[in-house]
Amino acid sequence: MIPAMRPELSEAVGRLRDELSAVRLELEVPGAADARRTRNDLVAQADDYLLPRLSQMDAPVLMVVGGSTGAGKSTLVNSLVGSVVSPAGVLRPTTRAPVLVCHPDDLRWFDGDRILPHVPRETGGAAAPGTLRLVTHEALPAGLALLDAPDIDSVLAENRALANQLLTAADGWLFVTTALRYADAVPWEFLRAARDRGTAMSVVLNRVPADAEREVTSHMSEMMREQNLDADLLVVPEVALEDELIPREALAPVRRWLDGLAADAQARAELIRRTLTGALASLPARAGTVERAVADQLAAAAELRAEVDLAYAAARREVEDALRSGSLLRGEVLARWHDVVGTGDVMRALQSRIGTARDRLKSIITGKPGADEELRVAVEHRLEAVLRAAGERAAERVARAWQERVAGRALLEATPGLDRAGDRLRADTQEQVRAWQAFVMELVRREGEAKRTSARLASLGVNGAGLTVMLGVFASTGGLTGLELVVAGGTSALGQKVLEAIFGDQAVRELAAEARRELIDRADGILRADSARFDALIEGAATEAEGFARLHGAIDAVRRAS
């Protein structure tokens, strides 16, 4: 009996399979497509072959008959069985539903989802393309099953994918090629892959014309030697078919090979062991290429992220500069400020007070916002304009930088509208500015209560005091030039004097500083939320460092266990 493999091996392979299927390789860095294919192959190999074989070492040998379209795979299988179990014909590709032929006693091994769990089974006569047709035949010895796979190189892409999957699930390959095809590129890719995976293999050189046998056979052997391919070469001459089957004498080499395998349980066990060992041995190296690809993805993701960080840091600086330079104060905000608090100009102050009273009355009657509300709106508009422009510019900068990189370009193409600020930026800004204003009012109220100066605070009103602090945020760092300084200085000087009288000089400065900190924090939050769109994209496409470490651990575990 075949010795069972250690259970921890099965466990390690299972873990590696899970980690492999969990890694994301969606960033289009060079080699990503290959890595995805390798990953899928590995997962399929684990599901279809490694895990079932590791758990049941005494299941029958599954020989997959694979090869090019028109190479005569079906005819070969039919001839070996001695009856037409798989249809053959001149139209390519002939075999669309693979056919598994086994001894009736062995059927139980194949009709469940022990192997090829994702391929539907069919036991009836005709099978839909893509399903596995199970056929039992007494002519085939027990302990050995033949699987007639679809071709590896026809125009049907699903055929090729299925063939690849079936070949991965095999204990051994019976690879069929012809005198016409033996130098084709596609079959050799498969042969090399099988060699790398350590799959036990025999190559059938079919349809060899009598006059070309020596030349072609020697060339083929030479190529196999060059490619380091250790396999039997079985030559079948080109002969006329008898009842759609190859005559016995022509088939003799293949028949001998099959009978030898059928008669000798030891040889079968050896075959299984050889392929399994080869597959396990090739596992770390092949998973290693995926691991390297994951590392590349991590590096690419870091680069993309760095671009995002750079652009949004610049945006943050832009906003901060605008907040500090006092430019928010100019124009409309200043005008509104005049409306609320009045100016140093006595006449204007008088006009303004009358105006304010009138406005209040109006706002009570008509429900329109009063002057302080208008000031808030003005501040809000300004902040919003600054934040939006910064956000737009940052998004454009990221888009431009990403455009230069293959991975970034693919992400941009997949997600339209990335090169502009997100939809939420505007709403976020409004919300945050309002929240900030509420915060400042609350700050002033708290400070006022602490100082027990509510009577004097009342002279300015919490609203007025709050607004003064808000403007102090923009004005107290200076940065105003020329006339503006005079006007702004004059206006806020009045308010500030009152404030200082209420809270004290130091406290006002602290209030303004705290309010500014809060505002910058909130602006930061808004930009962060906008840049999160990019981060989410990267995250969705590339595995993070943790997944990489887990994959690395899983590969190590397989290496140690085998």
């Binding site: 379209t69 125009v155 130098a183 100019r330 600054v386 910064a390």
Partner: protein, 528 residues
């Protein structure tokens, strides 16, 4: 045909120019390669038709080449792949320049009346382990006027043929043919079935009308049909143009796939107004308008105010002078230096940027990528120049600040009234001194009515002066409003020009490029 082709080729060449830097670089480069190739091929021997025999290894290309040319130049063998280097047979004289262009070294001349003008190429395979062969095939298939794909019963459904060559060349049905070789290996019925299956596969590739010839190079059966096809193509001398035409159309189609769908909405009125408003704000226009208003009042007060206090006004600077803005400006006059208006703030820059982007997005309408980005880039590309351009616009605007003529009259009148008041006052002072000296009635004081003249002069002069100053102030208020209105209109015109130049023109140019490219691609024969 040829004139149509010329038009299409020209359109494609122009489209390449417009698309460069706008559409996908790869597609543009491919289209450019097509125009270059067409130029090269058209400059060479158009009397000769280049036909390439291409196919997988072992289908009998070389045997077919030998049979057609009646030679045994091509090596025929069992060992795969057999042919590793292309070779050419030329029927008749000439074709040397073409062969140089095709870069085929091994050449043979064949004399044959019916096929004179045929240049037949035997190519290596494209599906063997030798990748160099595949590259050679790719190169020559790109250049040949007619490509004859040779297949045989085992290899007719290979992905390497259908997916790598036929499907990408599905626009080239007119420049290709399929030969089903080694028909002698199959029975009559199987041949018919095979032929049907090939037609089915070709239809699936998008080549339903491609000629399919069944023959056997070994037995010579069916060879005449191929000879006839070649003779027809050679005699017509249109294969080269047909091939290039297919190339041009395919390149145009690829470009037009990258071009995207949708129609631009054009620049929206509201967006344009928002942009101009943002520009005005950034350029300090409200400020200038206010200065015009204030300047008029200021100057009016100086000219028509009550003389006894108007000197106080002189202590304040003239609002327009302070901004270093000229009252009047001639169209096209050299610009004075920078104004003293403050440069736009970050906020104003931000508002301009937002308005520009809004305008671009609105103008792009439902255009597909990459156009919204292109239009946006056009709208924001002059961002850096906004401040300077606005300063020039505002500084160069004709504010139309004029001095009203009545100011002179009013000024004179004020002076007269002031003089009267002074005279009255002096008179009264003299009278007072005289009365203090008790020398009354030395100078007679006329008293028309009941009020003495000096009192009348003083009180009347003062009251009339103040009244006049008040009236003038009201009038100047009206004048200031009118003038600031005029200045606003003039400034708006200038600022609109700046907005037009910096934002709207680039956006319109981009939209024009879009329209032009759309037209050119349609003209170049893009299938949509």
């Amino acid at each position: 045909m040829s004139r149509d082709f010329d038009r299409r080729l020209t359109a494609l060449a122009e489209a390449v120019q417009v698309a460069d830097g706008r559409l996908d670089r790869e597609a543009v480069e491919r289209a450019q390669a097509v125009t270059e190739k067409a130029g090269a091929r058209l400059g060479l021997d158009m009397e000769t038709t280049v036909v390439a025999l291409a196919g997988p290894t072992g289908v009998g290309k070389s045997l077919l080449f030998n049979t057609l040319s009646g030679t045994d130049f091509a090596t025929v063998g069992r060992r795969r792949p057999t042919t590793s280097e292309g070779q050419a047979a030329v029927w008749g004289e000439g074709g040397d320049s073409l062969l140089d262009w095709l870069d085929v070294g091994r050449r043979h001349h064949v004399a044959d009346g019916a096929l004179t003008g045929l240049l037949l190429l035997d190519l290596p395979d494209f599906d063997s382990v030798e990748t160099a062969h595949r590259l050679e095939v790719d190169r020559v298939v790109e250049l040949a006027d007619l490509v004859v794909w040779v297949v045989e019963p085992q290899k007719y459904a290979d992905a390497s043929l259908h997916e790598r060559y036929l499907r990408p060349l599905r626009t080239h049905g007119a420049a290709m043919a399929v030969v089903l070789n080694q028909a002698d290996l199959l029975s009559q019925d199987d041949v018919a079935e095979w032929r049907n299956d090939v037609s089915r596969l070709l239809a699936r590739d998008g080549l339903p009308d491609m000629p399919v010839l069944v023959l056997s190079a070994r037995t010579g059966e069916g060879l005449d049909s191929l000879r006839r096809l070649l003779a027809d193509r050679v005699a017509a001398r249109t294969a080269a143009v047909a091939r290039l035409d297919a190339d041009v159309r395919a390149a145009a189609t690829t470009l037009s796939e990258r071009f995207g769908e949708g129609r631009p909405a054009g620049i929206q009125r509201a967006d344009r107004e928002r942009l101009v408003a943002a520009f005005e704000e950034a350029g300090g226009v409200p400020r200038v308008i206010r200065a015009v208003d204030e300047a008029h009042r200021h100057r009016g007060a100086l000219a028509t105010g009550w003389p006894f206090i108007r000197w106080l006004r002189r202590l304040k600077p003239d609002p327009l002078r302070r901004l270093r803005l000229p009252d009047r400006a001639q169209e096209g006059a050299p610009q004075p230096g920078r104004t003293s208006l403050p440069p736009p703030t970050e906020v104003q820059h931000a508002q301009v940027a937002t308005a520009s982007r809004g305008l671009a997005d609105g103008a792009a309408g439902d255009l597909a990528a990459p156009w919204p980005t292109l239009v946006r880039n056009a709208a924001t590309k002059n961002e850096e120049r906004v401040a300077d351009r606005l300063d020039r616009a505002v500084g160069g605007a004709d504010l139309r600040v004029t001095r009203p003529r009545w100011w002179t009259v009013a000024g004179l009148l004020q002076r007269l009234l002031a003089a009267a008041a002074v005279v009255g006052a002096l008179w009264l002072v003299v009278l007072g001194i005289l009365s203090w000296l008790r020398v009354d009635d030395v100078i007679p004081t006329p008293e028309p009515g009941s009020v003495p003249v000096p009192t009348l002069l003083l009180v009347g002069g003062v009251l009339a002066g103040i009244l006049l100053a008040f009236l003038a102030r009201v009038a100047n208020g009206i004048g200031a409003r009118r003038r600031s209105g005029k200045a606003a209109r003039s400034l708006r015109r200038k600022v609109e020009e700046a907005a037009q130049e910096l934002v709207i023109d680039p956006v319109e140019q981009e939209l024009e490029a879009h329209e032009r490219l759309r037209r050119l691609l349609a003209e170049a024969g893009a299938r949509t």
